[in-house]
């Protein structure tokens, strides 16, 4: 079942430092990757990562033998500290998703080694503890929304969970309101069904891009207007037009990592025609991608 088996640990930390240049290997002006402390020689795949304030957290995942429930936070000066594990009532899992609202992280869905999950749990750095939240259930509770490898994002204090695999790719979109601890139906993703995609937010808009379904890597990209609850297609991430701007596009992949910095989005690594260390920068204003400095660690997929 488990496809990814690579090194989840470093990524959140590397990502956090992505916009700070170090002096040792600086070249040109297209960014720099700096190596930070590894967690251990033993890898973990399909973990979740989130950022609260200035602190990156990584947890859950799969170590090649078992599903994991531990969580760690990263501090540049000290390294990693283990925080509260996902409680015993929650299944240890991989391929979960996470979003952050008001300094609390919400982690849910995923795969426990046997079945896909729909439960959600919230971690608060203020208390250092976990609370169970409403599971992902739609208006018809007899329809299971359990899934793995979904994407999630936060806009205006609401969490969104979209796409992922319920055995096959999905395209439904759900909104979580922490005030009422409730889930709401939203407009389905504009593109085709998919899993192992990435999502990022620029301004007030969320983007979903990359991913796969039925062994086909997806080349379409869509932007979500949360206020209008509406998806709009952007330029494709492959060389499909006569125009020259997409001639070098080689972005299609699944199991990549996305983050934003200085109002640009970055999609890094993943697995496409081969396991990648490419880094692509997206400008939401111009709807253009630029290849920037490759990730300097080992090529990887499956965050």
């Amino acid at each position: 079942m488990q496809k990814g088996k690579l090194f989840g640990w470093m990524l959140a930390a590397v990502v956090l430092s992505a916009c700070s240049k170090s002096d040792d290997t600086e070249d040109e002006n297209n960014g720099n990757w700096k190596e930070l402390p590894e967690m251990s020689a033993s890898p973990r795949s399909e973990a979740v990562a989130f950022v609260i304030g200035d602190t990156a957290y990584v947890g859950t995942g799969f170590d090649g033998e078992k599903q994991l429930r531990d969580f760690w936070k990263y501090n540049p000066a000290n390294g990693w500290s283990q925080v509260a594990s996902l409680p015993a009532a929650a299944a240890a899992r991989s391929s979960a998703t996470a979003f952050v609202i008001d300094n609390k992280a919400y982690i849910g869905t995923g795969f426990d080694g046997r079945v896909r999950l729909n439960d959600f749990w919230s971690y608060s750095p203020a208390t250092g503890g976990w609370e169970q939240k409403a599971p992902l259930v739609g208006p018809d509770p007899t329809i299971s929304l359990a899934r793995r490898d979904a994407v999630s994002f936060t806009i205006n204090g609401k969490g969104y969970v979209a796409t992922g695999s319920d055995g096959a790719g999905t395209k439904d979109v759900w909104m979580y309101d922490p005030a009422g601890d409730k889930w709401f139906t939203r407009q389905s993703f504009g593109g085709s069904k998919r899993t192992e995609a990435v999502a990022f937010v620029l301004g007030q808009n969320a983007y979903i891009v990359t991913g796969t379904n039925n062994s086909e890597l997806k080349n379409d990209m869509w932007v979500y207007d949360a206020a209008a609850d509406n998806w709009t297609q952007k330029n494709k991430i492959a060389n499909v037009l006569d125009d020259s701007f997409d001639d070098e596009y080689n972005i299609v992949c699944s199991q990549a990592v996305a983050f934003t910095a200085n109002n640009k989005a970055y999609v890094v690594t993943g697995t496409g025609n081969s396991i990648s260390k490419a880094t692509w920068e997206y400008d939401g204003v111009t709807d253009r991608w630029t290849k920037v400095r490759d990730f300097e660690g080992a090529a990887r997929y499956g965050p």
Binding site: S42, R44, L68, D70, N75, G79, S81, G128
Partner: protein, 126 residues
């Protein structure tokens, strides 16, 4: 098992200190005596270069342990890991026992995560 690990951890730190002292350096009698004392007190095991090192220290609340890998910071733990909430290590022995367990995992090539069951078995002071 943990006591052994702790003992080893402290002894190889001393080993390193000795190794870094050039033999040709002129030493005072006091220095030599001190080194001999450290050597006999510290090294019951052979001196091996190990990539992981464990050390304890006072934290803002209670005690903490650090694990470095080839001298670089890797783990800093000032709260009891895995359990809900923030509980400091109440004493140095608690921090060292927990750190020794994590050190052992790392040296065995495992992930350094501690489980609730392992924390229970360490019988830490809360």
């Amino acid at each position: 098992m943990w006591h052994l690990a702790v003992q080893e951890a402290s002894s190889w730190m001393m080993c390193i200190n000795l190794n870094r002292m050039p033999l040709t350096t002129k030493m005072t009698k006091q220095k030599i005596a001190l080194l001999l004392l450290l050597a006999t007190a510290g090294s019951q095991t052979s001196c091996r270069e190990r990539p992981y090192r464990l050390a304890t220290e006072l934290a803002p609340r209670g005690w903490a342990y650090r694990i470095t890998f080839k001298g670089k910071p890797m783990i800093y733990q000032a709260q009891i890991p895995a359990v809900q909430g923030y509980y400091p290590f109440r004493n140095e022995a608690d921090a060292r026992r927990t750190g020794a367990l994590v050190l052992q995992k790392l040296e065995d090539g495992q992930l350094p995560a501690v489980s609730i069951a392992e924390i229970d078995s360490l019988r830490l002071t809360r």
